[in-house]
């Protein structure tokens, strides 16, 4: 009898130990996957925050620019910079033939003419002088400099020719290639050229979408939750509504995209590809999440507080507004932010309403066409150029940073409001 009991006890302890082990290994697995994921993204993405520049001597020859003596500001604006730009690239190799000159030109971004123009506009005294100008390297050379380019491939399988590599190596040896922080990644809109593409358009698009989504979803959801929880009679009709809200939370997001396409664009003719339409579509998706969170936190307010207020002669409205809703706010707000974070990472519905279009302008309002961060990731991930690989990871890093900040915000709100009184 006693022996049996001891065996049983041992068995119970062992079961507990096993259970702990399972739990620990589950956490370990989760951490491992997370680490691999983050390491992969950071290791491919960090280089996108650096940009390679070629330092090329440019002679600002007034004759080539078709400028008279003492040119005015407008003259400088209208001057022809293409020839001096071309010449300064060709001068990198005095012995180059015509084909090679073309290749030399393609070592920098097609933007190089403008970079030279800006240099002169900043300092008009440069006319007739020679200055070393920073020119954005082409995306392939950028990758070569960052060591991401397979130089040992046969030449016909590479986008960089042997000749370009030779000149580039000379420039590197002379210290005429520099890597600097990539500001244009944050200030430029999308571009077909990887070296010029930035996230400004999609970042602003995401912010506008989220704001529209917040402004629609939050008031509607909170009012709906308050009504359902505090005022609605409990009958079959409200049960039906409750079941449907829960169902709505489980509807795949692409369905909401179709709804946006069919209703907002086809019937109401709202402007296509805009954060306005995106935000409305996302708000439909976020609504049930916020309603459920708000109802849960209203339910969590102790009934004794409601009774206390009612017994003091407060009306139902006063009880709700003075006591129940303020107490439920921390939960509601963190639910809202989690819902918004979900919406921020949503791609499918935005693709359907046209936010996947190529947008090379930065939106100034929710009515301007824009992309959004997750859609930008999708667009770049589809592009063939090697230069976009690191951009995808960099964009993911920005999106993750955004999400982390939002979640942090949710935590802070929670703590701030909850600590105050308990």
């Amino acid at each position: 009898m006693n022996k049996n009991k001891e065996q049983l006890l041992n068995k119970r302890y062992k079961a507990e130990q096993r259970f702990r082990l399972y739990g620990l290994s589950a956490i370990f697995m989760a951490l491992l996957f997370l680490t691999i994921f983050i390491f992969k993204i950071f290791s491919t993405g960090y280089s996108a925050f650096q940009k390679t520049w070629l330092i090329v001597p440019v002679t600002f020859d007034a004759e080539l620019m078709m400028l008279d003596q003492n040119p005015s500001k407008e003259d400088l604006q209208d001057a022809d910079y293409y020839d001096i730009a071309l010449k300064s690239m060709a001068d990198l190799d005095p012995n180059a033939n015509e084909d090679q000159e073309n290749e030399l030109k393609r070592m920098v971004s097609y933007f190089f003419e403008k970079e030279i123009k800006n240099e002169l506009l900043n300092d008009p005294n440069l006319i007739g002088k020679t200055k070393e100008v920073y020119l954005t390297a082409s995306d392939d050379l950028d990758q070569v400099f960052k060591g991401n380019y397979p130089r040992d491939l046969p030449e016909d399988q590479r986008r960089v020719s042997d000749y370009q590599l030779k000149i580039f190596d000379q420039l590197v040896a002379n210290g005429k290639v520099e890597s600097k922080f990539n500001i244009s990644f944050f200030t430029n809109a999308d571009s077909r050229e990887a070296e010029l593409a930035g996230i400004a358009s999609s970042f602003m698009g995401s912010i506008f979408s989220i704001l529209v989504c917040l402004m629609i979803a939050f008031p509607v959801a909170v009012l709906a939750a308050i009504y359902l929880e505090e005022f609605a009679p409990k009958n079959r009709f409200t049960d039906f509504i409750e079941v449907n809200i829960n169902n709505l939370a489980a509807v795949p997001s692409i369905v909401f995209g179709l709804l946006g396409l069919g209703v907002l664009l086809a019937i109401f003719h709202l402007p296509r590809s805009t954060p306005l339409v995106g935000g409305i579509t996302l708000s439909l998706m976020t609504l049930p999440t916020i309603i459920i969170a708000a109802r849960a936190s209203l339910k969590a307010v102790p009934p004794s507080i409601r009774e206390a207020a009612l017994a003091m002669g407060a009306s139902r409205m006063q009880t709700t507004m003075h006591h129940t809703v303020p107490l439920s706010m921390p939960g509601t707000l963190s639910g809202t932010i989690i819902g918004l974070a979900q919406a921020l990472g949503e791609t499918a519905p935005l693709i359907l309403i046209g936010m996947v279009a190529f947008v090379n302008t930065i939106p100034g309002s929710p009515m301007d066409p824009a992309a959004s961060l997750p859609v930008q990731i999708y667009i770049w991930a589809e592009s063939a150029e090697r230069g976009f690989v690191e951009k995808v990871s960099a964009c993911i890093m920005v999106l993750l940073g955004f999400l982390i900040i939002m979640n942090l915000f949710a935590q802070i709100i929670r703590h701030k409001f909850e600590k105050k009184w308990s």
């Binding site: 009679p233 004794s304 009774e307 206390a308 207020a309 009612l310 002669g313 407060a314 009306s315 006063q318």
Partner: protein, 258 residues
């Protein structure tokens, strides 16, 4: 209180039935409550004494499935009548609950809430006065006067309950309902509250539901004994405890059941 030897009746319940859905919780309760006296309602758990108490300020309205029949007259006005305004009624009838339930706000806000929503103070000064007198009447002023703007939830259990009493009397109610106000408190806090009840009955009519027969005997002048949803017996506390008419009352008082 007796004027010229006649009992002044504050509340008159006539044939009150209460149903929770189909289940009947109170049967035909008729009970008179005397003005400026403490009336204790005793009885075993689930006998309906709290339900009856909650009829008096119509807190049962909050429960969807609960329905009340019969008349409850306060100052000869039937509160179950359709013309009765619940908000006004509850202004006149304060309530103190079993578990102290101060609002998660400051002490000051707790006490000033009732006067604020009922518009009882014209200025900050008047409000300060109401808060001070209410807290003084609840015998809490000396303990908290230096921390009026700290959270009410930071007080001890007994202090919280006295805060709830202060909150209830801040709107100068005619009647105070107490639903087992001491069941969550230790003996010292209980003694303080009982002393307070004795003081409060000078200005208010008090009905107290209690599980403790000793407490009923200590604080009340009248007692009603409930059993299984029926009012078995009621009368002066002296009589109920010393010489009850009904055998069930006798058995309960002497601890034979319940």
């Amino acid at each position: 209180m007796r004027k010229n030897g006649v009992k002044m009746i504050k509340i008159k319940a006539k044939d009150v039935d209460v149903f929770y859905g189909k289940k009947q919780a109170l049967f035909n309760i008729s009970l008179d409550i005397e003005e400026n006296q403490v009336t204790a309602l005793i009885g075993p758990s689930g006998c309906g004494k709290s339900t009856f108490l909650r009829c008096i300020n119509r807190m049962n309205d909050v429960i969807d499935i609960c329905s009340v029949k019969g008349e409850i007259l306060i100052n000869d006005f039937n509160i179950n009548d359709k013309s009765c305004d619940v908000v006004r009624l509850r202004e006149k009838i304060g309530m103190v609950f079993q578990k102290p339930n101060p609002f998660p706000k400051t002490l000051y806000e707790n006490v000033s809430y009732g006067p604020t929503i009922h518009g009882m103070a014209q200025s900050k000064q008047e409000m300060d006065e109401i808060v001070e007198t209410s807290l003084k009447k609840a015998a809490l002023w000396e303990e908290v006067k230096d921390r009026l703007h700290e959270p009410g939830t930071g007080l001890s259990g007994g202090q919280q309950q006295r805060l709830c009493i202060a909150r209830a009397i801040s709107v100068k109610p005619e009647v105070i309902l107490m639903d087992e106000p001491c069941s969550a408190l230790d003996p010292i806090a209980t003694a303080q509250i009982e002393e307070l009840i004795d003081e409060l009955k000078k200005e208010h009519t008090i009905i107290i539901v209690t599980h403790s027969m000793a407490q009923a005997a200590r604080v009340s002048q009248n007692t009603g004994f409930f059993h299984l949803g029926q009012l078995i017996e009621h009368g002066s506390t002296d009589k109920i405890f010393k010489n009850p008419d009904n055998k069930k009352t006798q058995d309960y008082i002497t601890g034979r059941f319940g």
